[in-house]
Amino acid sequence: MTAVSDVSSHAIARARWRPAEIVFWVLALSCAFLFPSRYLIMTDILRLALFTLSLDLILGYAGIVSLGHAAFFGVGAYSAGLLALHGIINEPVIALVVAGLVAMVLGFLTSFLVIRGVDLTRLMVTLGIALLLEALAERFSNITGGTDGLQGIEMQPILGMFAFDMFGKTGFFYSLIVLFLLFLLARRIVNSPFGLSLRAIKNNPLRASAIGVPVNRRLIAIYTVAAFYAGIAGALFTQTTALASLDVFAFERSADLMLVLVIGGTGYLYGGLIGAVVFKMLQELFQTITPQYWLFWIGLVLVVMVLVGRERIHRWVLWGPNLIIRQVFGRKAGVAVPESDAP
């Protein structure tokens, strides 16, 4: 067996749908019917999941540490809000794609700044871009509404058929479908040769360039794609809540996002989705215990996770589910693996 066919068969094997994945999505869909009174929070989780998916693409797969991912979220949110407010594009789906494209353009332009330098410079530049956009949004408050945010956004029915209702049912299904479609795309991307080359870059950029991977071009490409995802997440936020305010750019949003991804685990696509569920539940829990000081507990979770070791925690958590998967589907069945154990 030649090296090339070995790699491709490996990639194909990885890309195969596993039973656990199908179970996951069936569960996600069944949530809609199990908890009909909790559409709003579930929509929140879906948006966060999509946003985290976006960070996972650059952090988990390409190894770019970003502290300012909220920049793209915010641009997407404001684009969608302005499009709807001024009636430029009334159709939510088209507006969603356009908002994503706007964020994508910004991502492409800023990617040239981000690929330069080492981790620390990247941290600073990404953080700086997010802060810059926040300052800009504050400066041009006649367009963005300043600290009050965009007021009076009215969303038209999706595809002219499904109107947004006050219980958030339409919003939930809309978000779920968008998330699923984009997830499929992300899954295709990371399992493609392109995705494999990203992993090579993450492991060792020098070696990757030595075997002929155009490192910078690949990083620009994935950063742009991730910006598109984040923009869509932001646009979903505006469309489902009919709200866009300055805090879409806030540093806390980027920091929370990292926490979400780290809870779920970096470097596999479900990390972001699982992390979003766990994070929102934690947040709900802490907010009911101490409404004002939940930030403390979130901080504690971060500190403990890092000190105990992210990989170790994931292995503990996955032990139970993996046992069940093995029992049901036999030893050969694919199991969820944390990043450190991924082949």
């Binding site: 540490v65 410079t121 700086g128 400066r139 806390e252 901080g299 971060l302 890092v306 000190l307």
Partner: protein
Amino acid sequence: MTTLFTILFDGVAYGMLLFVLACGLAVTLGLMNFVNLAHGAFAMAGGYICAVLVNNQGWPFFSALPLAFVSAAAIGVALERTLYRHLYTRSHLDQVLFTIGLTFMSVAAVDYIMGSSRIFIKLPAALEGQFDFFGVGIGRYRLMIIVICGLLTVALQLILAKTRFGSRLRAAVDDPRAASGLGINVPQVFAFTFAFGCGLAGLGGALSAEILGLDPYFPLKFMIYFLIVVTVGGSSSITGPFLASLLLGIGDVAGKYYVPKMGPFVIYTIMIVILIWRPNGLFGRAAAR
């Protein structure tokens, strides 16, 4: 013309303050290569301790300042020995997550203990008001800051360049392995430096309550400023961060005076441009180790 001098004066005072706040970070981040986003938390601790001592216990301001230094350093060394030292060898992502977590905890804890409103430290009467110096209004408090921070800067430079400890630190930073081979206790040197940096941050926090404003969100609000000082200034010497903080201080004060509507826009733009132009900072080494 006199407004120009006043802006320059205020900017220098602001920059000096930023330098004292951030120079501890310059060591941990620049020299020890540890991304400590929680540095502002130590400054906040020093500021609040000083405020409690002065406002509630009735201590004189000038005797509370050293205590702010000592207590922040004590907190620093306790955290370094128990938590931070496990993370020196970990990835930057882990360090970022850990220190953001610490920052969040400190913000909520201070909010819980001291309340969320901005606090002020009662100043002695001698430091209030301003006097005229050839038509330039000089704030007494700002003058004191310039004097204290100037002296500290000179002392730091001398310690680093002339003393035995300074050469040990430089050796430990340059090549930890060779340094420990020569019998230098590298972890001890790092712990001491870390504590000293935290102490300086605490002192800076106490001094800054009047100028920057002290509230529980201090570590988050000024984190970016500290990081700018370090990344723009580079890490090869103490002069790089010093010049960077002066630049930042004057730039920020002048920006707020001349183009108030642009807000912090000017600063962030300058930072991004500088980092793109020179990723290792204005005065940094050409290539990192």
